[in-house]
Symmetry: C2
Subunit: 449 residues, 2 copies
């Protein structure tokens, strides 16, 4: 059953730390899953967390450290010496170790790496630090089970037992040739069912999906989702097997991407959380609000330039927030659908067709909403001409907002820019300004002023 | 390497279908992954797709059908008889079979189920149809490898080989007692390394995570993510092993949830895609736009009630779109952070503390933005009093918007309502109205009118 860290347990841990009762702490925590240890490290203060990390077995704490939020982890590691950090890194899979080390200051990085005792682990980490964080090389772990095609099943099982001790989970067994190039995979079923003297070259499956170390993480995620893969081998340009990416890393990647897009749509520009400091949250939010401020000043300036009709048609000015809001809402809807479609490779056909469709869609929405607004304003204010002016403007603004909302993300995507930045404040602000401009133009035309 | 369905291949498939060259079609498609077959089924028209489904092996097409979008699948199945659908369902894992059948009309459902020949499969499907779609029971598959504690390793391996033929991937081997209750799991490593005469009861691991058939899918997803599980067994209230949920289902679930939240934030109320029909898209978008329209009319009515100050302070009216936009932006930011925090179980502390923090944050943002707006308006219009009125109002509106944006999702969550509906148009519309109301009140006070 889902285990929840109770406040009772937390109290006990805190008390035991304060009196340095190491035996009690070990007894309390030794059987906990590392994800639960992470919850405890997150809940207690940094000095207490550092105390626990040094006390408990690195095998347990190294995994727990990986589960922490980056800002909590940063503070925790600040309380550890390079040697103490190296002890934790020593126990981590290479991909986790590299993630941790990459977060440290340049100078500390070198000190930590120098303290790693396992030379192979050290070399692996140094190799992986060279890959882009958002590439297959950056996501992969070096730990995997590899067998040579020349081995027998018996030798293979023997070697697998040895390798499997280093590997948390055996997803697939990869088969390589003498040059360490990936040539296929082995199913556990076949291994279980074959005679022990059979050569691997006779039973391996030559059809194997793989990615290049330099492939973007996004492509790896798409590929693994499309083919429901739980692990995929990673090779270099010479097809030498370098590592593998597992589905849990992809789950994290998908979640992070979705959260990033969501935050961009909401006008939040960094990866922040509700529990971050007010300063961090302000840094993430203020720029977008400032953009909105500039847009609002622009809208006010446009309205000011129509001041001469204010006396006769005050009504027009009362409806500017409605126009701005509708332009913003339609723009966000259109851009969100395109951004999501692009992320899922779901947007087919040319930009022209896409714009045409959005125009028809916006026209349909605009017509229905324009009619509703006309009915209300004509009856409520008894001024049919003003009602016509406002409703036709609304229609035009909705169509324009739909087109802009569709075009901008498609345009950004074609230019290789993340289209997600086009949702949220960016699109609402530009649509506010355009919307109010179009609104007054059309109203002036309709009213003949 | 990522395989892409080329337009060449599509043309060949289309031509071969039109001349009914079955041999050519089989040769073209027999080696394709089912995800690629799905891409082809999606690209050709419904009649062509139905032709392919009947022609190709159900083992391949049944998986491809699962990969299709729901609306494409619906049209395709409309072109098949219940017996033809049953042939496909026969080859599917129970969880997929149930998903497909649940999508059919009640009447067709019964006909399809009646045509399923494998009695065990039929019974499994009927059992699973009773579970809520968004529960562990709705997500699980019946296919898994189970061994009894009384067996030996040799017997176990023999039995596993038999069961493994039905199971696409062996994640874990689950150990049950005589009553079929889950008592533990078996690691493949231990199985590989134990003597063949060893009893399972001696080597199984009694510590095993599991969920109840009635647990909500969301909790299952969180648990599997937290503990990096690739499969989790599902039991009923008597702890009898009923099935297992695998990580690929969870990946789909996480993606769907993220997309749903994203769409709600953008003001889109159904699960729609860029390629859906204009009517479907309108149904998903129009209600939110109508909400915005009502809000805009409300704002206009409020502004109308202040018409008497229009002549002396036209400036105030020019800044209403800015006020509305800022109220909306701040509200969306605040609510998005809370919604995401709630989804990740990241929101700690009381509602009171949370509101206090958001108030401080909004006050900081409001102060900086208010000062910027004051500097601009005071210099640009040369009217210090009006500039003070507008800036102080902006400050107040930002603080209010932050509080509302934080409070509403927290309140909805406490009431058991999905807080994601509080983002997007809902929050922008209510904040527009409140914002403009507060703005005029404060402006009137400051200006002494």
């Amino acid at each position: 059953m889902p285990f929840k860290v109770s406040s009772d347990l937390l109290d006990q841990v805190r008390t035991s730390i304060s009196v340095q009762d190491d035996a009690a702490l070990k007894e309390l925590l030794v059987d906990l899953h590392h994800a639960d240890v992470a919850e405890i490290l997150d809940a207690i203060n940094t000095e207490e967390a550092a105390y626990l990390v040094l006390l408990l077995d690195s095998e347990q704490t190294s995994e727990a450290i990986m589960e922490l939020d980056e800002d909590v982890r940063e503070k925790l590691l600040d309380n550890l010496t390079p040697e103490e950090i190296a002890d934790e890194v020593e126990e981590m899979d290479t991909d986790d170790a590299v993630d941790i080390i990459a977060e440290l200051d340049e100078e500390i990085q070198q000190q930590v790496i120098a303290q790693i005792e396992d030379e192979e682990h050290k070399a692996d980490i140094q190799e992986m630090l060279q890959y882009d964080e958002n590439s297959a090389g950056g996501l992969m772990a070096k730990e995997l089970v590899r067998v040579k095609e020349t081995w027998t099943v018996a030798g293979c099982v023997r070697e697998m037992r040895r390798q499997a001790e280093e590997v948390t989970r055996v997803h697939s067994v990869y088969v390589v040739n003498k040059e360490d190039q990936l040539i296929g995979r082995l199913s556990l079923k076949d291994l279980l069912t074959s005679d022990t003297k059979t050569k691997i070259s006779e039973i391996y499956i030559p059809k194997v999906d793989f990615v290049n170390v330099n492939d973007p993480a996004e492509d790896v995620a798409k590929l693994m989702q499309k083919y429901d893969l739980e692990a995929i081998p990673v090779v270099d340009d010479q097809k030498v097997l370098k590592g593998r990416v597992t589905i849990d890393d992809i789950v994290d990647f998908i979640k992070e991407e979705a959260e990033k897009d969501y935050q961009l749509a909401a006008g939040i520009s960094q990866d922040v959380e509700a529990d971050d400091s007010i300063l961090t949250l302000t840094r993430a939010r203020l720029p977008w609000l400032f953009l909105g401020l500039v847009g609002g000043v622009g809208a006010a300036t446009i309205m000011g330039s129509f001041e001469n009709i204010l006396e006769r048609y005050a009504l027009l000015f009362f409806y500017t927030p409605l126009i701005a809001a509708m332009a913003g809402n339609v723009g966000v809807q259109s851009s969100a659908i395109i951004v999501q479609g692009l992320a899922n490779d779901d947007v087919k056909g040319s930009i022209g067709n896409r714009l045409l469709k959005e125009m028809l869609l916006a026209a349909l929405n605009g017509l229905l909403l324009g009619l509703a607004l006309f009915a209300f304003t004509a009856i409520w204010y008894g001024d049919t001409r003003a009602a016509i002016a406002i409703s036709i403007s609304l229609f035009a603004v909705i169509v324009m907002a739909g087109i802009i909302g569709t075009f901008i993300p498609l345009f950004l995507d074609k230019r290789g820019i993340d289209p997600a930045i086009a949702t949220g404040p960016f699109i609402t602000t530009s649509n506010d300004i355009f919307g109010i401009l179009i609104y007054f133009w059309i109203a002036k035309m309709v009213l003949g002023i």
